[in-house]
């Protein structure tokens, strides 16, 4: 593996080729917030709160640090008034579908850190709180880390939600990984089977 030299928040960083900006930033202690990321999983890019500013070839743009690969000469800014504003907006948008979350959860911490007003957008739509920001961590952990595939996504757009596949429910050996990775505290200590509806109920319109 080759080495890549880049600059993060004014500091020079020597990273491994193939690393993401998020990983490289951690080398120099630059903390970039994430909600849908987990080192054990492939970068997913759903929550976008890890958005950073990059400069290359004289052009500046915003990218998701969790998926953007490091390259020589890249300049990265992980914090700026504009980034903070954007992240605050993203958190407030994520709050729309969730509606509520556990105190002390990762999401709760970010809401406070960025001074987000969770009701700013949520007050403009009428939906039942789901306590879920559809980050997919539980789904991906269940399929890619444990290989169980007990839960999955159904629906598209604002109808996207996490469901239980009843025929796979017996695989759920309550490893609690999903509960551990959930950023809002949606998954109850009783496990996913008690936190999500079954796909049959969703498809039949019972939920």
């Amino acid at each position: 593996m080759g080495k890549v030299k880049l600059e993060i928040d004014g500091k020079e960083v020597v990273a491994e080729e193939g690393m993401t900006v998020l990983e490289a930033a951690r080398l120099v202690g630059a903390e970039i917030p994430t909600l849908c990321h987990d080192e054990r999983l492939e970068p997913y890019g759903a929550c976008r709160v890890c958005t950073v500013e990059i400069e290359r070839g004289g052009k500046t743009r915003m990218v998701a640090a969790c998926g953007f690969p490091v390259e020589n000469g890249l300049k990265v800014r992980t914090r700026s008034p504009r980034l903070d504003r954007m992240r605050k907006t993203l958190i407030e948008l994520a709050a729309v579908s969730a509606g509520e979350w556990e105190e002390g959860s990762k999401f709760w911490t970010l809401v406070r850190e960025y001074g987000a007003d969770p009701s700013r957008f949520a007050s403009r739509v009428q939906i039942k709180p789901t306590k879920c920001i559809v980050c997919g961590l539980c789904v991906r952990t269940c399929s890619d880390v444990t290989g169980d595939g007990v839960i999955g996504f159904v629906g598209r757009g604002i109808n996207r939600r996490v469901v239980i596949f009843p025929e796979k429910a017996q695989n759920c050996w309550t490893c609690r990984y999903c509960q551990e990775v959930c950023p809002t505290g949606k998954i109850s200590p009783a496990g996913p089977l008690h936190s999500f509806p079954s796909i049959d109920d969703v498809l039949a319109g019972r939920v």
Binding site: A46, C47, M62, A64, F68, S97, V125, R160
Partner: protein, 634 residues
């Protein structure tokens, strides 16, 4: 048919086919595109077949069911060759007369297109709709039967492939495409040659080439008509591209909602394989290339390149991050070169006529032509192929024949849900990739929706946001939640609940969506809102501050009432009102019960005396007392 094993075999076959054909033999062509079929072309074709058989003219008159001609407004279309007489809105009852006229070599005046000066135009190429177009890609559609490879070969088809395989190295083909400056016709206008080169130079085998026929913009059907009407040209372009890039395998992704396109491209693939133009050792050149059709399962977002590749891999068709180009890492992590239908269809032309010829058409940075689907409030709707650089005004007025019903032009929406609206002051803008972006819109795949004065721009913005709300995959927060909130705010504005701070809120959400969304669906989703806000801000303000819809479209903000001075008590509105909201009687001025009225507008449509008025932002005037007689009878 024995397979073709050399370039000479192909040439010989072409000569053979042409030798069997008499160019002076009368030929009747029927447009069999989806639009004409929907308006009755199939019945016309059946009637023609029967009539020709009944009269025993099979040997004298040829009948051909062709691809879409593009002039959908006037379908079903029948064109008689060699004179090229174009008959519009043909019905099966007209068929005996048409066949008789072909025999007698005369023209049926009543079936001709009526021009702007009420003149009847017989030759297809003289009709303004066709006259101002430049149909290099689309033109062949009306000559060939899409299910006949012989028709395509007779027109010179697969000649470009033979030239590429036997006269040019893959590098030379690539250089020619780069030199031609062919830009992707599917949306962003990315240089095709650059993409091909990236895929060619990328490490990893096998490499893939892909046709994107997941067209889904509201009102757009260019790719559909090309795929349905001339699939061999797309296929030929794909094979040439595969040769240049070094791909041995390809996919044609067609959305399931295009059954005729699926059918015709499958027929084309089978024929090309039989003729040795596809598969192992193409034309004896040693080049192998196989292609498969992948049918889309109905998601608009699957037209996004990474989503499309996920779908081909058998996964859910939703986008993934593409900070590494798909040309480097696409299907199964292998170099995958994806272009849209129209882009591929341009390739054989560039190879056949050369990059210099292609570069001679268009503007400095946008070469060649572009097919637009011209729809909306324009007289002659349909598919139009024009050189890049033509003005919007020429497309809408010269080709499209101006605005329907003599109404005033208001805006044209280009680029589908990712594009934006362009107001009247920019009608003289030359149409190319970059100029449309400068105006806040984009070329997109070529949708062009013309809007007249009766269109509410807030309502239009809400329509497009609503479309994307349905079609967003929901994976990333800014797109999923941004669209949800935008739609809700726009609905509030349309329904009279808008707030002063809403415009700022819209702009803030739009900026976040643009900068942070995962794929292009999200980053461009706010364009229809931003452009309407940029060019028609006063309309938003009227909705919010005065509770007034200037175009009188938003139902919550309008009212219908009957002008007592103009009402003749004829009873037309009263009889036609579906909810019984009109009161009155014979010799008694009619009144609308505002509580019952659903604002469907029927009364407004049926009133012959212009007595029903549509108002917005003002109180409904009081009605005269019951029993008041109409003015004329007072």
């Amino acid at each position: 048919m024995p397979r073709l094993n050399s370039r000479a075999d192909l040439e010989e076959l072409r000569k053979e086919i042409l030798a069997k054909r008499d160019p002076n033999k009368p030929r009747i062509t029927v447009c069999s595109g989806t639009a004409c079929s929907a308006s009755g072309a199939r019945q016309v074709a059946v009637a023609l077949e029967e009539e020709i058989r009944k009269r025993g003219l099979d040997a004298e008159v040829e009948l051909k069911k062709t691809g879409c001609h593009g002039f959908c407004e006037k379908g079903p279309l029948v064109v008689v060759y060699p004179q090229e007489i174009c008959y519009v809105r043909v019905r099966p009852e007209d068929v005996p007369e048409i066949v008789q006229s072909v025999k007698e070599n005369r023209i049926i005046s009543r079936l001709l297109y009526v021009g702007p000066g009420k003149e009847r135009i017989s030759r297809e190429s003289e009709i303004p709709f066709y006259k101002y177009q430049k149909r290099i890609v689309f033109g062949l559609n009306r000559q060939v039967d899409p299910k006949s490879i012989e028709d395509y070969i007779a027109s010179g088809g697969y000649g470009a492939l033979a030239k590429a395989l036997f006269e040019m190295s893959p590098e030379q083909v690539l250089e020619e495409i780069k030199k031609a400056d062919l830009r992707g016709r599917g949306g962003g206008g990315f240089p095709a040659g650059k993409k091909w080169e990236t895929a060619r130079n990328a490490l990893g085998e096998p490499k893939y080439v892909i046709v994107n026929c997941d067209e889904g913009d509201p009102g757009a059907y260019m790719d559909r008509s090309l795929m349905e009407g001339n699939p061999h040209r797309v296929l030929e372009g794909l094979i040439i591209g595969a040769y240049a890039i070094g791909a041995r395998e390809g996919f044609i992704y067609v959305r399931e909602e295009y059954p005729l396109a699926v059918e015709n491209v499958k027929v084309a693939i089978k024929q090309a394989e039989e003729y040795g133009l596809l598969g192992e050792n193409i034309l004896g050149s040693g080049f192998d290339f196989h292609v498969r059709v992948h049918r889309g399962a109905g998601a608009f977002v699957s037209g996004e390149s990474t989503a499309l590749m996920n779908a081909i891999e058998g996964r859910v068709g939703e986008p993934r991050m593409k900070y590494i180009h798909t040309a480097v890492s696409g299907i199964k992590g292998k170099p995958s070169c994806l272009n849209n239908v129209e882009t591929w269809a341009n390739v054989p032309l560039i190879i056949e006529h050369g990059a210099d010829w292609f570069r001679s058409i268009g503007t400095e940075k946008s070469k060649g032509t572009k097919i637009f689907s011209l729809v909306g409030k324009v007289n002659d709707t349909g598919l139009v192929e024009v050189p890049m650089g033509i003005t919007l005004r020429d497309i809408i007025y010269k080709i499209g024949g101006g605005i329907k019903g003599g109404k005033k032009f208001k805006a044209v929406q280009t680029g589908g849900p990712s594009g934006g609206v362009i107001p009247e002051e920019y009608l003289d803008t030359p149409v190319d990739f970059d100029r449309l972006v400068e105006l806040g819109s984009m070329m997109g795949s070529g949708g062009m929706i013309v809007m007249d004065e009766d269109t509410c721009m807030v309502d239009i913005a809400r329509f497009f946001v609503g479309f994307l709300l349905e079609e967003s995959c929901g994976k990333c927060v800014p797109c999923r939640e941004g669209l949800r909130v935008l739609h809700s705010i726009l609905t509030d504005i349309c329904e009279g609940r808008g707030r002063d701070e809403d415009l700022k809120l819209i702009e803030e959400i739009a900026e976040t969506m643009k900068e942070t969304s995962l794929c292009a669906l999200g980053t461009t989703a706010a364009n229809p809102v931003l452009t309407t806000l940029k060019y028609f801000r006063s309309e938003y303000e009227a909705h919010i501050r005065e509770r007034r819809c200037p175009a009188k479209v938003c139902k919550s903000l309008i009212a219908y009432y009957i002008d007592p001075e103009a009402c003749q008590a004829c009873g037309a509105c009263l009889k036609n009102c579906p909810v019984g909201a009109v009161e009155g009687g014979e010799d008694e001025i009619h009144r609308i019960d505002q509580d019952k009225c659903t604002k469907c507008g029927t009364c407004y449509e049926v009133c012959a005396f212009n007595a029903v008025k549509k108002i917005s932002g003002e109180p409904v005037p009081p009605s005269p007392p019951r029993g008041t007689r109409p003015r004329a009878k007072r």
